[in-house]
Symmetry: C2
Subunit: 428 residues, 2 copies
C-alpha cells in the first residue's frame, strides 16, 4: 500500500526567496527512502490563514501524513502549533515539565550571550513553546522548540501531522524520535517496501539515456513497474529508480542494459557521489590543487569533508600570472608564448604544485570563466586542466564549458573531480 | 490595491529533494520587488493530477497571477502546457512559425553535439514544444521552450497564468518579455506601489533587534503599516521592510531608531551585500588569502565576482603545517609553540601571503572546523583570523563559531569578509 505525504515549509523569508529552504528537500528525501510517496511540498509565510489553507489542501489531496517545518520559535509570528491545533480542534495546554526543560536550555544559552535580553518576553516565549495540543505527542527539543505529532482526525478527514522546527540541525536531530512517535509510527507501518536505486554517469547526454530507456521499454518485461526520474546537473546525469520489491528483476535488467550501453560513462551505481569516490581513492595519497579560474573551489570542495586533512596538503590559487610564476614556478616565457589558458601552463601549474607542496598528485585549472576575457580562439568557457602525479606523465585536457561565470566555474570544479577519480583509479 | 501571486515549481527531481529549486525564490523576489504579494509557492512532480490540484488550490486562494516553472521540455513527462490548457479549457494548436523557430535552434545545437540522436523523437519534441493554447500569448524561447501567458478565465474563476521553462538561465532571460505579455502586464497595472528596503547588520542578535522593534512599535506612529521580516543567516541579521508609499515616514523613523541603537553593527542600508562592499573597497588594491580551515572558500568567494581578477592576485591554502611553513614562511617553531590554530600563526600566514604574493592586503584563517581536532582549550569552532596590510600593523582575532563543520567554515568565510571590509574602510 502507498503512503502519501505532503510537506509544508513555513517562513516568510523562505517564501520571499531570501533564504534557501533546506528542510523540504531533506524531509522529502528521507520519506522517499523509506518508501513514502511525497505528493506535494508547499511553502507559506507566517500568516495563519495561508497555513490553514495549505494544510486543508493537503488533507483534501488525501495525503496520509503532513510534515511541517518552522514556525516554532518563541515570538508571536511563530504560529504553527496554534494554527494546526485550531484546524484539528484541539485545545492547547501548558506542559509544565516541558516548560521547565526549555527554561533550563534557554538559561544555559543566555549565560553565554553577552547581550542582556528582557526577562519578561523571554518567559512568555518559553511558555509559548511549551504549549501542546491535547492528545498530541511531544518530541523532545534539541534547540528550544519541541516537535509535535498529532493523530489523524477521522471526523474532519485530517491526516497525521508532524510539526518540526525550522533550523535544519534541530529538525534533523529530532527526526529519529519523530518517526518513532505514536501517530507517525502508525502511518509508517502501512507503507510498502520500496527500493530506490541511483545510477550516476558523467559525460552522458540525456538524449542518449532516453534512447536506451526506449529500448528498455521494448525489451524488458515489467519495465512499467519502474518509476524512473533522470536529472542532469553539472554534467552528471543521475537516474533514480523507485520500485516495489516485486520489480527487482526488471530493475536488474535495466541496470544491465545501461551498463552495456553506457558503462564507460557510469561512475556510480551504489548511491556514492564523485566526492565520495575521490575521497576513498585519495586514501594513502597526498594531494594539492593549483587553481586559476576555479579560484579555490576545488580545494574548498576537497576540504568540505571531515578527515580530508589526512590527504589534502594545500592549494595555490594563482589567479594572476605573477602568482603562477612566483608560487608555482611556471616560467613567464611559457605564459607569454602559449597564454595563461593553455595546456602547457596547466601542466606546469600542476607540476609546480606537486613539487612545491610535496604531494604525489595535483590537479590544475586555468580557464576563462567570463564574462570578459574571451577571444575567438579561446572563447569564454575554455578551461584547461592538468593532472600531475608521481607515477605517471602529466596529462592535460581542454574543455569548452557552457553557461555564465558561475556555471563555468562549477562545471570546471566537477570536471576536475572526475579527472582526479580517473587518474587515481579504483581503490585497492 | 494588492495583487496576490502564487508560484508553482514543477519537477520530480525538485519534489524529491535531489535538486535545489532556484526558480521559486528568484520569481518570488522579482514579484515582491514589483509590489506583488506572494502568497504561496507549491512544488509538484511530473503528475498532471497533482499539478491541476495545485493550480486549482491557488485559484481557490484567489491569487491574481500564477507563475509556473518547468515542464516545458520536449519529452512526454514535460506536461505543464497541456495540463494548464486542460484546466483552462483551451485547445492546443500547432504554431507553425514557432515550430520552425524551435527547429532552427535545435538544429544549431545538434550540429555541436557529438552524439547522434533519433530524428523522429526529435521532431515530435519540437512539435510538442510549439503547441500553444488558443488565445494564449507566446513568449519567445531563449532555449528551446517558449513561455505561455494565458488570460484569466472569469467563468471558471481562474487567474492569469504565466508558464515559464525550468532552466534558471532561460527563465530569467525570458522574464522581461513575460512581464510585458498582455495578460501579465494587465494584472501588474493593478498593483500598489510598494517599497522594499533592506537593512543588514553583522554581530547583532535577533533578541536585541526585537527589543528595538518593540520600542519602535510604542514610539512610531504608523508602525503597523510596515511589514517587517527579519532573518539571521551566517551571523548577518537582515531586516526587510515592505510598505506603501504612504508609510515612508514611519519607515524613515524606524531606520533612524535602528541606526541610533545598532549603528555600529549595521553595514548596509541600500541592499548591498558584504560581497558588494568588499569588492567596491578593493578597487585599487591587491589582495591574497592564506586559508587553513576555510580551505579556499574565501578565495572562491572573492573570485565569484566578474572583474575580480583586477584585485585578486591569488591564495595559498595551507591545510597541512608543512604548507604553512613551505609556502607562507611560518616558522615551524612558532607552530610548535603556539599550535597551528593561534593568533601568532594566523598573523604570520597573512604576512607570508602578503610578502609571497606581493599584495597590499591579505586575510588568513586557521581554525578547527571539526568534527575532530578539538581540545578543551581550543574546542571545535575555534578560528583565528589575521589581516595583514601594507599600511598598518597586522591585526588578529579569535572567534568561537557554533555548529557543524559546514557551519564553522561558512561562518568563518563570512567573518573574514567583514574583517576585510572593516580593514579596507569606506571607499573614497
Amino acid at each position: 500500500m502507498t503512503v502519501r505525504a505532503g510537506v509544508v515549509v513555513t517562513g516568510t523569508e523562505v517564501l520571499a526567496g531570501r533564504v534557501t529552504d533546506r528542510n523540504g528537500p531533506w524531509v522529502a528525501q528521507r520519506l522517499l527512502e523509506m518508501g513514502v510517496d511525497v505528493a506535494h511540498i508547499t511553502i507559506c509565510g507566517d500568516r495563519p490563514d495561508d497555513l490553514t489553507a495549505q494544510l486543508q489542501f493537503l488533507a483534501d489531496q488525501r495525503v496520509d501524513l503532513i510534515v511541517t517545518t518552522g514556525g516554532l520559535g518563541p515570538t508571536a509570528d511563530d504560529l504553527t502549533v496554534a494554527t494546526v491545533a485550531a484546524l484539528y480542534r484541539r485545545e492547547l495546554y501548558l506542559d509544565d515539565e516541558l516548560e521547565q526543560r526549555i527554561h533550563a536550555i534557554v538559561q544555559r544559552w543566555r549565560s553565554r550571550l553577552s547581550s542582556a535580553t528582557d526577562s519578561e518576553p523571554l518567559q512568555a516565549g518559553v511558555r509559548k513553546q511549551a504549549m501542546v495540543p491535547h492528545g498530541a505527542h511531544s518530541i523532545a527539543p534539541t534547540g528550544t522548540a519541541p516537535g509535535v505529532a498529532i493523530p489523524a482526525s477521522g471526523s474532519e478527514s485530517l491526516p497525521v501531522v508532524l510539526i518540526l522546527p525550522g533550523p535544519p540541525r534541530e529538525l534533523q536531530a529530532m527526526w529519529p524520535e519523530a518517526l518513532d512517535s505514536g501517530p507517525v509510527a502508525e502511518v509508517l507501518t502501512r507503507r510498502a517496501q520500496i527500493r530506490q536505486s541511483t545510477i550516476r554517469a558523467y559525460g552522458l547526454s540525456e538524449a542518449d539515456l532516453a534512447a536506451t530507456l526506449r529500448t528498455a521499454e521494448r525489451q524488458i518485461t515489467g519495465f512499467g513497474d519502474l518509476e524512473i526520474t533522470t536529472c542532469l546537473r553539472l554534467g552528471e546525469l543521475e537516474m533514480v529508480t523507485r520500485h516495489a520489491e516485486s520489480a527487482a528483476t526488471p530493475y536488474k535488467e535495466l541496470a544491465g542494459l545501461i551498463d552495456k550501453h553506457h558503462g564507460a560513462q557510469v561512475f556510480s551505481t551504489d548511491g556514492s557521489t564523485i566526492d565520495d569516490i575521490v575521497a576513498a581513492r585519495l586514501a594513502g595519497h597526498r594531494i594539492a590543487t593549483a587553481e586559476s579560474c576555479t579560484g579555490g573551489m576545488i580545494a574548498a570542495r576537497l576540504t568540505d569533508r571531515a578527515g580530508s586533512s589526512a590527504y589534502v596538503i594545500g592549494a595555490v590559487v594563482s589567479y594572476a600570472n605573477e602568482a603562477k610564476t612566483g608560487l608555482l614556478d611556471v616560467p613567464a616565457e611559457i605564459i607569454d608564448e602559449h597564454g595563461a589558458v593553455s595546456e602547457p601552463v596547466a601542466a606546469l601549474m600542476a607540476e609546480g604544485a606537486m613539487d612545491r607542496l610535496g604531494v604525489d598528485i595535483a590537479v590544475s585549472t586555468s580557464g576563462i570563466a567570463g564574462p570578459g576575457g574571451g577571444t575567438e580562439l579561446k572563447p569564454v568557457g575554455t578551461v584547461c586542466f592538468g593532472i600531475a602525479s608521481k607515477d605517471r606523465p602529466t596529462v592535460t585536457r581542454t574543455l569548452r564549458l557552457p553557461g555564465d561565470r558561475a556555471s563555468v566555474r562549477a562545471l570546471s570544479t566537477t570536471a576536475a573531480m572526475h579527472m582526479l577519480a580517473d587518474a587515481l583509479g579504483p581503490a585497492h
